[in-house]
């Protein structure tokens, strides 16, 4: 269940990353005619995420820009510091969401 929530949050952040760089890709010559549709998709997706988790996401995003980051080879790809292996074992399970002890971002294990 937690994993499902985390995956919805990952998709939400993916849309937020896209919204953030709309101006940049437009300058490169890409067509961005569907900005309103994308914002609507963002609203729909955020409505399907539990309120406390969404709140936590928005708060972290305000503070750190990236609220949730991938972890690969035990490295937090938000601050690039190694996570204790013991957290990784638990982090891959489906019971709770872990945050980086160093930067405070929510962690999403890729391997």
């Amino acid at each position: 269940m937690i994993k499902k929530d985390l995956e919805l949050l990952v998709s939400l952040q993916d849309i937020d990353l896209m919204i953030e760089e709309v101006g940049d890709v437009e300058k490169l010559g890409f067509s961005v005619t569907g900005y309103t549709e994308l914002k609507k998709a963002r609203e729909e997706l955020s409505a399907s995420i539990s309120k406390p988790l969404l709140f936590r996401y928005e708060r972290l995003r305000g503070k750190l820009k990236r609220a949730i980051v991938p972890v690969k080879n035990d490295i937090c790809l938000g601050c690039f510091l190694r996570q204790p292996t013991s957290i990784g074992v638990k982090g891959r399970e489906d019971e709770q969401i872990f945050t980086c002890e160093n930067c405070g971002r929510m962690l999403y294990w890729l391997d």
Binding site: E7, V10, S11, Q13, D14, I15, L17, M18, E21, V22, D24, V25, L28, G29, F30, S31, V32, T33, G34, Y35, E37, L38, A41, R66, I68, V69, P70, K72, L77, G78, F80, Y108, L110, D111
Partner: protein, 153 residues
Amino acid sequence: MHRSELAKYFKDNLFVASLQAAKKEVAIAELLDTFVREKYIRNRDIVLEMLHQRETLGSTGIGKGVAIPHGRTTAAADVLIAFGKSDQGIDFDAIDGKPVHLFFMVIAPPNEEGNVYLPILGSLVTILNEKANRDKLMKVETFQDFIAIITGE
């Protein structure tokens, strides 16, 4: 970004000389599956969703037979580019309405060391704006020849 620097982001196992797909959605999935097959990406559904959302924002078919589907995703650790070519061409809702033959799929993590993602997109657009480069890419069959075109050697 210098062209020799850009060339480093391509990989032999992410090079498809002849795409099977005949439709937009299938072409996106086919290119994404090269990353999945090589285990660069584990959660296919999340990345596919991101790529679909990106097409909602506007077709990445930039005209003249070229598409550059791209996006950042929290489900990737490294910046990666897959190349695919379709001889028959695929309807991709491109801005000029023409079928797309040359596909560059660029996937990036939320943060990347050196901030290379936007420079990579810019460099690709510049190279592909040149007709001579597009003509050469249309005929490319091997990864080695492909890299020579990208580096401009």
